[in-house]
């Protein structure tokens, strides 16, 4: 790790100021991605601005079916929130399967979304839940937020403060974990609303990150059942191919995970 300066912000405003004053600052949330990257000397921020002690960025609020999760809320808090579980247990389940207990007690939803790892779990949920990413300066629809591998619509110095969504009638997440990292080799979040809207969002498999699958969505809108998936062709040509899994295999996993997610609702 290179030398760096640590700052603890107590408000969003102060964090933004600290960032403005830094030569090459970075926000620090759970540090579960950022710190290992720094330890490997792949990142060298001059300043770290810690967001974990900003009260307004923490906690889960459920109002009817509308949900707001502060960006500095840990995976563990999401996984174990009784309120959230009553309206969207799928998200609790997703958070409960991120990494290991140590990671879940440190890592945060804001950090995960800002990082937009192509194999991370939350981006699939955000996209399928049609969530809104709330920042210090605007609100961004999930569909516009995730722009590529580790790329987001965030501008320099912009802070995610929370995410918001209305809980769908049905939702489920199925993840096929990479045996080494336990990140998603293919993860599928399905959501169905009372108005018939269906969203299928896929993580871990796309060569440019998280994406929605229109054909699967169409098939499931017509018939919300595992069988509906059977006749859909999932094309592997835009999928990742690496040491762990070929594109064709990932395409198969997407289909199987979708089917299982629907069964689980």
């Amino acid at each position: 790790m290179y030398q760096t300066n640590y700052h603890r912000a107590s408000s969003v405003q102060e964090a933004v100021q600290m960032m403005g004053a830094a030569t090459e600052g970075k926000y620090l949330s759970g540090g579960m991605t950022l710190i290992p990257t720094m330890r490997q000397r792949l990142a060298a921020p001059s300043d770290l601005i810690d967001l974990r002690h900003i009260a307004e960025m923490k906690g889960i609020a459920v109002n009817g079916r509308s949900v707001r999760i502060g960006a500095a809320t840990t995976h563990e808090e999401v996984a174990t929130s009784a309120e959230l579980r009553t309206v969207c247990p799928a998200l609790c389940g997703l958070a409960g399967h991120i990494g290991d207990p140590a990671v879940r007690h440190m890592g945060t939803i804001g950090g995960s979304i800002a990082n937009n790892d192509p194999a991370a779990d939350y981006p699939a949920a955000m996209l399928a839940l049609d969530a809104v990413i709330v920042t210090d300066r605007r609100e961004i629809k999930a569909g516009d937020f995730f722009t590529g591998l580790f790329e987001t619509a965030l501008e320099d110095g912009e802070i995610i403060t929370a995410v918001r969504f209305d809980a769908p009638a049905k939702a489920a997440y199925q993840k096929f974990a990479n045996p080494a990292s336990r990140y998603a080799m293919a993860g599928v979040f399905v959501a169905k609303r009372d108005n018939g809207d269906v969203r299928v969002a896929v993580t871990g498999a796309g060569s440019s990150g998280v994406f929605r699958h229109p054909d699967l969505e169409a098939a499931l809108s017509a018939n919300w059942s595992p069988d509906a998936v059977a006749n859909v062709t999932v094309d592997g040509s835009d999928m990742l191919s690496d040491l762990h899994a070929s594109a064709a295999y990932r395409a198969n996993l997407v289909k199987v995970m979708t089917k299982r997610a629907v069964s689980a609702t």
Binding site: Q40, S181, S246, L253, V256
Partner: protein
Amino acid sequence: MGIDGIGARVPRKEDRRFLTGKGRYTDDMSVPGMKYAVFVRSPHAHATIAGIDATAAKAMPGVIDVLDGKQLLADGIGNLICGWMIHSKDGTPMKMGAWRPLADRTVRYVGDAVAIVVADSVAEARDAAEAVVVDYDLLPVVTDPVQAIADGQPQLHPEASNNLIFDWELGDAAAVDQALAAAAHVTELKIFNNRLSPNPMEPRATLGIYDAGDDHYTCYTTSQNPHVARLVMSAFYNVAPENKLRVIAPDVGGGFGSKIFIYPEEIVCLWASKRTGVPVKWTCDRTEAFLTDAHGRDHVSTVKMAFDAGNRITALKVDTIANLGAYMSLFSSCVPTYLYATLLSGQYDIPAIHANVRTVYTNTAPVDAYRGAGRPEATYLLERTMETAARELGISPAELRRTNFIRSFPHQTPVIMNYDAGDYETSLNAAMAAADWNGFAARKAEAEGRGMKRGIGMSCYIEACGLAPSAAAGSLGAGVGLWESAEVKVNMVGTIEVMTGSHSHGQGHETTFAQLVADRLGVPIDSINIVHGDTDKVQMGMGTYGSRSGAVGMSALAKALDKVEAKAKKIAAHLMEADESDVVIEDGVLKVAGTDKSVPWFQMALAAYTAHNLPQGLEPGLKESAFYDPANFTFPAGCYICEVEVDPETGRTKVVQFVAADDFGNIINPMIVEGQVHGGIAQGIGQALLEGVHYDDSGQLLTASYMDYAMPRADDLPSFKVSTSNTPCPSNPLGVKGCGEAGAIGSPPALINAITDAIGNNALTMPATPEKVWAAAQAAN
């Protein structure tokens, strides 16, 4: 058996410090004035070094010096060596290319060390290492062993044309060919044994201290065999003569073979300490460990097994290419030869065997012994072949094995080994009963109902432990003897220190060796200390690997105890005015049998040292030592049965049952033995299901962290069912065989046999990743 004696489940004495974080590892060692080293390593798999410019690095804050391979060469530091000579079948010696501790002209794998930076802190050393400018001229790269020995490939060492190190054979080729021609059935198979990274929990580390006052060196290091390290460093590296070099291997957090070998870092830190005048400590980080710890296995083989009409094996023909990486590591040559081909008879009576082994240089990390070393390769090859043959012949795998078991002992195999004792059918029966083999069909049907494919597979392994009869090892090319030594020092009031040349790095010697003493002398286990890992404290030693510490190390201790006991009885007899042949030792008291005369152990010990009243001519004191050279190898064997469920839609394999029935001979501590078996099975399941080192075509290591290298975790494993049977080993005084590697040896074929059974396709290589299993299952449909 007393509560602390042989056969008791004594909780491990060393666990108090390990479990409370009080272990003392090399990285915990600090001495005044100590500085930190970081190595500059090659980012290229093959290149010549056109120049190294350390000017900028030397000027950076905290930097004491930057030293390179030219300076090391100028100071006369020698090459790293391979200590086991193998001759090719044409009689020529193996082609050992030069391995410089710091590469001076050519780098041959990613991670090859080219310079050392010494600085006030690790961070400053790392900053400076990044500022060392190395000018590389890139050379073409070869990483695949089969490709490497073809014509027209990149050449690693001028000594080894076509990268061939040796082309060696064992056995009778003509007899095998004859039997193959006459066979009723021949099973043929291509076998890959995947390359593994050893991953001990504690990464390697070393602290080199040069004392200019005495012209003396001290080397703290993560070693399984400190005396061997000292020998090699003085005899071949020219660091210092043995009397001026102390090697200390304190607590070591796992080795699995990878800490047998002497690596560049120990020698370079010692040399750098002299050059800079400060003690120099280096601690490996995890990525460095993936890059530079000697890897294991990496074989490509073809096998032919001949059967007669009665399903009896008549011959076995094996052709193996073994990848040894960029350089020949310390024992790399004996692993794919005398630790491999000599075990190809397995548990079976095979009249003719021939093995041909070619070893190859590639632009990858050196490959050497890794838990099991050669024996897992032999077992995997043989047991995959047996299972395949059973399927082809249409008989049950158990039946085929029973038909071919060796049943009378001693048994001379056609590949050197002479098995002294064993009872393979007992293990097979025990494993089948524990696995409820007969209930499998019902379980399979039930799984089918859930959409899962259930499979069962077995493996009957044998291994040779207790390395090794020195004369035999010498005749096969070993550069050292493979005895062990022990010294027993009874203190003035009877407490006991045992100095052993065995080294414990997770095996629990501090408990099991003490159990032997407690058993023999009846003294409390808390009054016994086991001292190991320091060349200044322990007279001599060959260290711990190849499951040798029980059979060889404890046998040496038993011999030393014989001498202690004899002298103690002499002293006690004199004190009690009795005949020494009437004296017995019971519960820490020396008694005259059939009388009420007795002398407590401590009083006898005190008498030995006060020397006021000793038998005429007897030396004062009570301290005895012994060397033990084994008469034969030991032959642990057993049967493992694995049951899996494969999800045909994803290819994910779940190990649902794992049974191990081992014959380890006599057992000192069943709890420790079970622990060793559990760990070994976990490692074997890791190899079969998860682990694999991958290089890309340019020689970059793709699996350089746990993000990409899959280690087994608790939830990958079922609760193991383990049991032991006991045919005592006739060749050592304790009747023990060794249990450290069995789990890793026996389990991979059982698992792959189970998966291939489940999916109905035999074409599957390790690691059986979900994608491979899925593809194979698809192909079978």
